[in-house]
């Protein structure tokens, strides 16, 4: 959600500078996806892209909400411009609102006649541009401005396109194709259950999501002159379901599906009206109709019906810090929450715009994030658990160790395959099934690794995998081994029994039971990406009078290895005859830049042979 620094500043004159604001938001409110500077000099602004998650989508998807949060967080004075709006003179109306579904939680409608549709004033264009929104025309812009300002989505219909001055809100009763506004010329397939705004003849809009092309404001002749403002509230689940099914995204939908508080409509209608008045001073306003009639919900935070009770101790215990009642009281006062406190026992009235605060756990977060998580001292818990590790896990570790000792190396393959007994919906292209065996994956893997055997310093490739396979009605953990003789697969239990293995129960805090030290001697060092180019191998066989280990050999030739030697040489054969030792070693060459040719390695190869001759080996 894009938020303009200057826009926030109009609410909070003492707002910290952008960098400090970035820090404050990140560590006390929410993650910032990006922060960009816009314009220069007197036109300079900063745009924060805030990652607003579902819990705060009810109040922070607008500048007013973010400003209010910051004012509470930092204890800064907050100036709400609404009382300064001009209230238009209002005339009697014949507008009728007929709500036929309880999925519409509130509907406010207002007719305005004699508007002049045209370009918006500069300040409106700038405001919208600062958050990446295009200016369309003064009426549509006003509608968007209200939404980005206070979080209440609004809409404007061309009144003359309505069959009569009667608006009906209902659930669609038949399937019907409905073209909606937008650059992609989408025709929505409306189904029964979708909430729609309609006149006596036709559907005019998909409630809370998008207006129809049949009812929107005209920017060309014939120009719209009379409009109907809509500030309404719809059931979050229904809006989301309809929007999901039709794959229709909109800023309005995003807010409604996270639940807009019904109390917000009044404020928004006042703002919407004032904006239209400013841009169309000759417009004639009629009285607004509110489905709530005379029973307007009280948006005064002081008289909120929702309360949460908690003690200072409970908050302290959950956070692991010692707070005083005064610590908590200060926070509540800064946020202007109405509360009562006695001996550390608090009762807090939750304002209507914080639908996410339901209980003590939510207040732990409210207090904790303001207090600052950095101020909580890390403490190790004294924990003695009597439990034992899961046996399956211990078995897997034991088998991995066993196979490693026997010379097998581990691979991990994909669960998704071309064929199987269990299928996923919308899986990876061409691989929509879950594997029924490990063998198929192992076969591919084996061939691949055989080609790379020289690079790996292996004469024979031996692989294993331990993983889950999926049969029609169950999943099983299997072990698969592959070597030049073929591939063997069995269940984990079968391997265990076949090899007379056992696990130590009760192996908590015994790191050696987990030690899978691969014996290579290296602790984790850094990974080196392999070259995409093929390698060349050269083998040398020779007689040696003395016995020779691979280690000896490597230290003898080490210094003569050139830059194209991609690994240390390794032994591929040895035997004794008539008291003499015969050895064969393999050298591997590879470049990171290209495919090597024989002539590329010749120079280095001759150098190596030279060193061997000087050492006294009789090369065959």
């Amino acid at each position: 959600m894009k938020i303009s620094y200057n826009w926030l500043k109009s609410y909070i004159p003492q707002i910290p500078d952008p960098k400090e604001l970035e820090r404050v938001l990140t560590f006390h409110v929410t993650e910032i996806e990006s922060l960009d500077k816009l314009g220069t000099g007197v036109n300079e602004d900063w745009v924060f892209d805030l990652k607003i998650l579902p819990d705060r989508a009810g109040d922070l998807l607008c500048h007013l909400g973010v400003a209010r949060e910051l004012s509470g967080l930092l204890g800064l004075s907050f100036t709400d411009p609404t009382p300064q709006y001009k209230i238009p003179e209002s005339h009697p109306t014949k507008l009728e609102i007929d709500i036929q579904t309880n999925k519409c939680r509130r509907y406010m409608g207002r007719i305005i006649r004699n508007v002049t549709v045209g370009p918006s004033p500069e300040w409106v264009v700038t405001h919208l541009a600062s958050i990446g929104q295009r200016s369309i025309n003064n009426i549509v812009d006003a509608s968007n401005l209200v939404m980005f300002n206070c979080g209440q989505p609004t809409h404007a219909f061309d009144l003359k396109k309505l069959a009569s001055e009667k608006i009906i809100i209902k659930e669609a009763d038949t399937e019907i194709d409905f073209p909606v506004v937008g650059s992609e010329n989408i025709v929505a397939k409306v189904k029964p259950g979708d909430i729609v705004i309609a006149d006596t003849d036709n559907i005019l809009a998909l409630a809370g999501i998008k207006g129809g092309t049949n009812s929107g404001i005209n920017i060309d002749a014939p120009y719209t002159t009379d409009i109907l403002l809509e500030v309404a509230n719809f059931d979050p689940t229904t809006v989301r379901k309809t929007g999901q099914r039709l794959s229709l995204l909109s800023d309005a939908r995003k807010r409604f599906e996270n639940s807009v508080p019904v109390e917000l409509a009044e404020y928004a209608m006042r703002e919407f009206s004032a904006l239209i008045l400013e841009m169309c001073p000759d417009a004639v306003f009629e009285d607004l109709i509110d489905s709530f009639g005379s029973v307007i919900p009280d948006s005064d935070p002081e008289s909120s019906k929702k309360q949460v009770s908690f003690t200072t101790d409970i908050i302290s215990e959950h956070l692991g810090v010692t707070l005083t009642p005064a610590d908590i009281a200060t926070i509540l006062q800064n946020y202007k929450y109405s509360y009562a406190e006695e001996n550390g026992n608090f009762i807090v009235h939750i304002p209507y715009y914080r639908q996410d605060i339901q209980g003590i756990h939510d207040m732990v977060e409210e207090i904790g994030r303001v207090y600052g998580y950095d101020r909580i001292t890390p403490t190790l818990p004294l924990f003695q658990s009597g439990s034992t590790h899961d046996e399956t896990y211990l078995k897997i570790q034991a088998v991995k160790k066993d196979l490693m000792q026997k010379g097998y190396s581990e691979v991990m393959n994909y669960t998704f395959t071309k064929k199987g007994e269990v299928q996923v919906a919308r899986g990876p292209k061409g691989k929509e099934f879950l594997r029924t065996n490990l063998t198929d994956g192992m076969r591919e893997s084996f061939e691949k690794n055989k080609l790379n055997a020289p690079l790996l310093g292996l004469l024979d490739v031996q692989l294993f995998e331990i993983g889950t396979i999926f049969k029609k009605d169950k999943e099983e953990i299997h072990v698969a081994l592959a070597n030049k003789k073929g591939i063997e697969e069995m269940t984990l239990i079968e391997y265990f029994i076949k090899n007379n293995m056992s696990v130590m129960p009760d192996s908590i805090r015994h790191p050696e039971n987990f030690s899978l030290d691969s014996g290579s001697g290296s602790g984790m060092t850094q990974f080196v990406m392999w070259s995409p180019y093929p390698s060349i191998t050269r083998d040398v066989s020779f007689w040696s009078d003395a016995e020779l280990t691979e280690e000896n050999f490597v230290s003898i030739v080490g210094s003569s290895l050139g830059s194209l030697s991609i690994r240390t040489p390794y032994m591929i054969d040895q035997f004794q005859k008539d008291g003499r030792h015969s050895y064969a070693f393999r050298f591997v060459f590879q470049s990171y830049e290209k495919t090597l040719t024989d002539s590329d390695v010749e120079g280095e190869w001759l150098k190596i042979l030279d060193v061997l001759k000087k050492e006294g080996f009789e090369i065959r």
Partner: protein, 247 residues
């Protein structure tokens, strides 16, 4: 010629080291199925159907004809376990629920396991990867303890210069919720989500939230492996290529 020992997948070595460190701190390993049911993967964890919170994870649902019985919203509504559609688990968190249903606190568990997300793949994202879940419940387990455990863990895993910082965030199954970053080699890395287990989740699993409280955390094992070893691309893990086994 002597038999050469084989090599293990770096993910196994990293997981092994992590499990070792955490088990010394009191955590025991628990495991669960890769193919879960909707209730364990979502509803029990306070992620109801038709709620924006479900958008936070891209899911592999099984094709409808293969579910056990009907989609069964009614069963989900009243919290009947093993209900709803089958799904490849999107996180290891369902095992928390399974463990809580069968054991009485206090306990601390870790759950290493394979998880599945229906996302486009790139160097940082794969459709299958591994996570490790942690859960500690007791009479007075707090955010301070969560910080303590994580800081000590990272100092052992990445080195004494490692540091952590916590930022407010949201996951439906915890409240408060945090993102935790770790400082390593001069940079901050986002590595895990955490929080205090949500009372509704405790209730769903049959734990009395008036008596027990505690934290949960989850991180990507592949990500920690990449941070520690410098392996640049998560997809390399699942190619079945032994050139990966460099340790």
């Amino acid at each position: 010629m002597e038999l050469k020992k084989g090599t293990l997948h770096p993910l196994t070595l990293v997981t092994d080291e992590i499990v070792g460190i955490l088990s010394c701190m009191g955590f025991v390993v628990a495991t669960g199925p890769e193919l879960e049911d909707e209730w364990h993967n979502f509803d029990a964890l306070n992620v109801p159907k038709d709620h924006p919170a479900r958008d936070m994870q891209d899911t592999f649902w099984l094709k409808p004809s293969q579910s056990d019985g009907s989609p069964d919203q009614a069963s989900l509504d009243v919290g009947i376990k093993n209900s709803g559609r089958k799904v490849l688990r999107t996180h290891t968190s369902p095992v928390q629920i399974r463990y809580m249903q069968k054991h009485t606190p206090p306990y601390a568990i870790i759950v290493p396991g394979k998880v599945f997300r229906n996302e486009s793949t790139d160097a940082g994202h794969e459709m299958q990867f591994h996570q490790l879940e942690g859960l500690m419940l007791g009479k007075d387990i707090s955010v301070a303890h969560l910080k303590g455990v994580l800081l000590e863990f990272f100092k052992q895993f990445l080195g004494p210069d490692a540091d952590i910082r916590m930022r407010p965030s949201f996951f439906p199954f915890v409240e408060p919720g945090f993102e935790v970053d770790v400082f390593h080699n001069g940079k901050w890395f986002e590595v895990l989500g955490a929080g205090m287990v949500h009372p509704q989740v405790l209730k769903n699993a049959g734990v009395d939230s008036n008596v027990w409280q505690g934290f949960a955390f989850g991180f990507g094992l592949d990500r920690l492996m990449m941070i520690k070893t410098g392996i640049p691309d998560v997809r390399l893990s699942y190619l079945g290529d032994l050139r990966l086994n460099q340790f």
